[in-house]
Symmetry: C2
Subunit: 356 residues, 2 copies
């Protein structure tokens, strides 16, 4: 890599192909993430607009729409399924509980809408497979957020160019105090019927898992795991805390962990034969990321302007839609994570090494 | 913890009971670690002196002794076993290949000498048990080095006082490019007959393993592991690279890894329900350690004067000997690591979760 280019192009949108055009979004599921993160991010974006709001009731959708200048429609879920105001949007952003993704994707795909679906794709491999099938003829992207984080893209560039030599070890972690952030023991993230097999790996362990895949450009082949739930509120899920080891090809081991009931901490570290990359904090959109590069005897701490990760994600998706190309995190990409999640939970239950 | 005391007492020898007295050491095994680290550390110490040098030949011992002002005897291994100059030393420092520790410990214990034995204790649980039995009537300490590192002791204090809440996750890693540091494919660390079951976990993975035990004041109950050897020089050992997960009581998981063929990198991170402690670098004596404390929204990076870890270790051991108390890292303590190592290698071979 050219040394000056590393500095000059750190946050460059190396994926951008389209300068003009607008993708109009229906926002489906108006929880805090959509309202506080996605809608403001779209307002800042170059290629996206929020034109429809979809929630459990039209009233709730109206209340959110009142604060969105570009809103043209406020719909209940039933009205959405019935096709109301379908001309008002080109794409949907699905941000409902995991186990409800499929139904909105099916409806959107039937109308030929492009689909940006929150991670994880669905609550099980089987349902995620049906989701991918349903969206086979429309653009589908899983909203991993880290794929368009500049620091993560630079990590991938550096790994590709051999900066760390051969990758050998990965450590990744993602934890947060969920019940302090959302003080509701009945929330869907703690309900296996809505969240899928667990609470921590499924929702936030997915970040180190998927970001490792992205940075290494490789998929895991086996999983080991330990998990436990001991605290009030976590009775229905196996993984208040989880530690899992993913084996990647060429003997690369990723030692990862996640907890929905611990101090907020996120990091991703790639250690190779010649150097190391550390992103910390890594996965929280709210705190400034910092990237540390080591090779030989030299270590560099890199600070940089923080992008709005959700704006980057929406614009990347819109850029793919407008330029007619497939997004990288498509249905097949998402299914690999779903299979890895299934293997991790099976490994956690059995104590065995589970092939993916 | 008193806030000012954290600063004022960071590097205080909170273990010291004896101000006067000298323990005279026979240094057994004159490889680079003894010559470049241990002997200079003892020269700096308050309570220790190097008075005898023991090596494969009396000639080699003489050459090293020539640079040691306090040396009184230079012995071959045979002369040591025969009791030559036994009055010249009170204690032995055993720094031979792992599988040779037992014989020097037996001879030293028979003469009533105090024993500071390098880690790991021996090459197998069975031999380590014999070593502990042989030294049952003399002071025996395994030389873990990190127990007297001030930053590690402050981590233990903070965990004990609840700074991180309940510990939940540990990440630890230790890697180095062994064949660049010691460019000899025939070295004992790569020979299972001399090193024990492996090259990476046994020799350097032991640091995150043992330091986690020390900081948490708890012992692991189960192990999972993955390991592989792929490079020239590592044909005889299973663990050029290894990733292992140790389960501690109360659902604390330690995600750890080690490699003798990767970029030098060492760290230890304890994440709890309320905060986090990160020591990085952690285990290399040559590079300045830095301790990062997080709790709630506040993070503090602590830099401090670096101690000579080997001087601290020797003086701690001498302090125990002179004050007539048992060192913390005694034979029983060392045996727990040996059982954990055995479990890690069995887990790596079988892919199963192995109870310790």
């Amino acid at each position: 890599m050219d040394f000056e280019a590393y500095f000059d192009s750190f946050s460059r949108r190396d994926w951008q192909e389209t300068e003009a055009g607008t993708v109009r979004f229906a926002m489906i599921g108006l929880g805090w993430w959509t309202v506080e993160e996605a809608i403001p991010a779209v307002a800042e974006s170059d290629l996206c607009e929020t034109t429809a709001l979809v929630s459990s009731s039209a009233d709730k959708a109206e209340r959110v729409a009142a604060d969105v200048d570009t809103a043209e429609a406020a719909l209940s879920y039933d009205q959405f399924h019935d096709g109301a105001a379908a001309d008002a949007y080109d794409a949907v952003y699905v941000c409902t509980p995991n186990a409800l993704h499929l139904q909105y994707v099916e409806t959107a795909a039937d109308r030929g809408k492009a689909i940006l679906c929150e991670k994880p794709m669905e609550a099980s491999v089987e349902r995620a497979g049906r989701l991918a099938d349903a969206a086979a003829d429309v653009p589908l992207m899983v909203a991993y957020r880290m794929h368009t984080e500049p620091a993560v893209r630079r990590m991938r560039d550096l790994v590709r160019e051999g900066f760390v030599g051969d990758p050998a070890h990965v450590h990744g972690h993602n934890s947060q105090p969920l019940l302090e952030m959302i003080p509701d023991p009945d929330q869907w993230r703690l309900d296996p019927d809505l969240a899928g097999p667990g609470a921590s790996v499924t929702d936030i362990g997915l970040y180190p898992l998927n970001t490792t895949r992205f940075v290494l450009d490789a998929d895991p082949v086996a999983a080991q795991a330990r998990m436990t739930s001991r605290s009030e509120g976590f009775e229905s899920v196996p993984d208040e805390r989880a530690a899992f080891t993913l084996s990647f090809p060429d003997g690369v081991y990723a030692s990862q962990s996640a907890s929905q009931n611990a101090h907020e901490s996120t990091f991703l570290r790639i250690t190779g034969t010649a150097g190391e990359l550390l992103l910390e904090p890594a996965f929280s959109p709210a705190v400034p990321r910092e990237l540390t590069l080591s090779r030989g005897d030299v270590t560099a701490d890199c600070r940089f302007d923080q992008v709005n990760q959700m704006t980057e994600e929406f614009d990347y998706f819109a850029d793919c839609v407008l330029s007619g190309r497939d997004p990288e995190a498509d249905g097949e990409h998402g299914l690999v994570d779903m299979r890895a999640l299934e293997a991790i939970y099976e490994a956690g239950e059995t104590g065995e090494t589970v092939r993916i």
